[in-house]
Point group: C2
Chain length 136, copies 2
DNA sequence: CTTGACCCTGTAGTTGCTACAGGGTGCATA
DNA sequence: TATGCACCCTGTAGCAACTACAGGGTCAAG
């Protein structure tokens, strides 16, 4: 299959597929006589793995480690679990931080009563963290 | 005050301060005889505004609009309110998305029972979105 | 008189793509 | 046969918001 078909099959953008090849995340495929990339089912499933992992927020380097692991099926899967658990922890930390942020923003936004910029509580609050009720 | 003092006073990195000047977010300050940047209280409060807004997740372009507004105190503050409200909406959307992600990751991580990579449910789940219970 | 802490400019790197520019290929239609 | 169009190629530059040098200048203390 050509790159356009692979793109439609996996939802990955064509430029992104070439990018993954360039950084060594996907192996360089065979070429046709016209120098077009020619992919098989193994490329397709590897790319699906990459895209799905990206959608779940894993970084390219984490995905590289996960792929190394699945390329060597005899290895212990502890590292995969460790990477996924660490990532889950990061997502939870990010959520906690965004919740603080949201609450602070909601307080700030709620203070505007309209009028001129000189009297605006939103602008005032943005200039002075000591009015905040949380850390961020 | 010199750039190092301003940096300590606001928590902004020195390189970041020069970067803000370069992109026109902070005005170019006066220079000493030795060509050192020399800042006053107005610079300091403007930079505090910028850093605080960045900590609250506003983009540079949003901050530019907010600064324009506070530079012109007679203007109506409706736009500041609009920017902050829109940003609050984005934070809420991001939280909702991360919560879905977290739940999916927790499901995936919980499936690993140890063993070899070939049998790992984590690696399997990463390769196949149809095993997911939510969109992302 | 030299050491160390500062400051300067300009450029390149980071992450994960995305968007061209400027070309080649392959097939259907007028 | 021409020609239009969709598709493919390489290589480079751009995005956000910084951060990290390299290679220099300035200044006060010991
Ligand atoms: Zn207001
Ligand atoms: Zn604050
Ligand atoms: Zn496992
Ligand atoms: Zn999924």
């Amino acid at each position: 299959m050509k790159i356009g078909e692979l793109s439609r099959a996996t939802g990955a953008n064509i430029e992104t597929i070439r990018y993954y090849e360039r950084i060594g995340l996907l192996p360089a495929p065979a070429r046709t006589a016209a120098n077009y990339r020619s992919y098989g089912p193994a490329h397709r499933s590897r790319l699906s793995f990459v895209r799905h992992s990206r959608e779940l927020g894993f970084t390219i380097e984490e995905i590289r480690s996960l792929l190394d692991l699945s390329d060597d099926p005899a290895r212990d899967c502890g590292e995969a679990d460790r990477i996924a658990t660490a990532h889950l922890g990061q997502v939870e930390a990010k959520i906690a931080q965004l919740v603080l942020l949201r609450d602070e923003l909601a307080r700030i936004v709620g203070r505007c009563r309209g009028g001129i910029a000189a009297d605006c509580r939103v602008i005032e609050a943005l200039g002075d963290h000591s009015r905040c009720e949380s850390q961020h």
